[in-house]
Symmetry: C2
Subunit: 158 residues, 2 copies
Amino acid sequence: MEKHVLSVLAVNNSGVIGRVAGLFSRRGYSIQSISAAQTENPDISRMTIVVEGNEDTLEQIDKQLSKLVDVREVILLSENNSVRREHVLVKAGNGEETRNGLIEVANLFKAKVVDVGMDNLMLELTGEPRTISAFIRLIEPYGIKNLVRTGISALERG
Amino acid sequence: MEKHVLSVLAVNNSGVIGRVAGLFSRRGYSIQSISAAQTENPDISRMTIVVEGNEDTLEQIDKQLSKLVDVREVILLSENNSVRREHVLVKAGNGEETRNGLIEVANLFKAKVVDVGMDNLMLELTGEPRTISAFIRLIEPYGIKNLVRTGISALERG
């Protein structure tokens, strides 16, 4: 099934993020990723939601979201009309012998070392979602302890 | 009220992200921000949820979350035991006269220009949440068109 990226702007009434996300689960639409926080205006939140489905599903979701009183705007962001970014934090490594290899991968992607543990490193990378996935594949042989991706965050171009 | 950062690991059964977020809204707990996506294992998702409340609320949330069959782990990440990062995309500017000022702010924070429009720039920055807020305050005078923050993404140290 196709993946769609939705950008939802909503008034920050208590619990609006939970209500929007909850609507997807109640209606049986599976959220692949979500990232949601307030904007420069603390009264307004912007959510980027990635959902799988066909055109029909998408139309239904748009209709249901627009019915929520706090929702102000629902935009479908196509690959061409948007900038799509993602961030990952990953803790990996197994003692000294993996450290140099990890640092080499970090340098290759210009990832940043954000924490140094006894036998592991925590790295972070921001980039296009496919770059994040490639980075994770190269880190995997060094032993991933924990990993957190933000999911896609996106804005319309132009 | 105090802000708490929760890290939730869950089996990626259809719609688990929506179910977890929906639980907060059904129980009347307000999500300040959420970022959720699959991990290196496509069957497992990790969510970072920021919620306001006292110790009692927090205990209730932990209990309710742990009851969901797909939830594997709920960790409370304190400021000391975790690395907390955030990402922002911001489109700002009002023609040529704002461009140089925006680029100066970008250089100051080592932010990246990710898109150039007719009369605006799209910038991105990854950093500590308070750095992101400071960056946004300095961008504001140049006219913010659109802005999206991922919310806090975090992992346990060490």
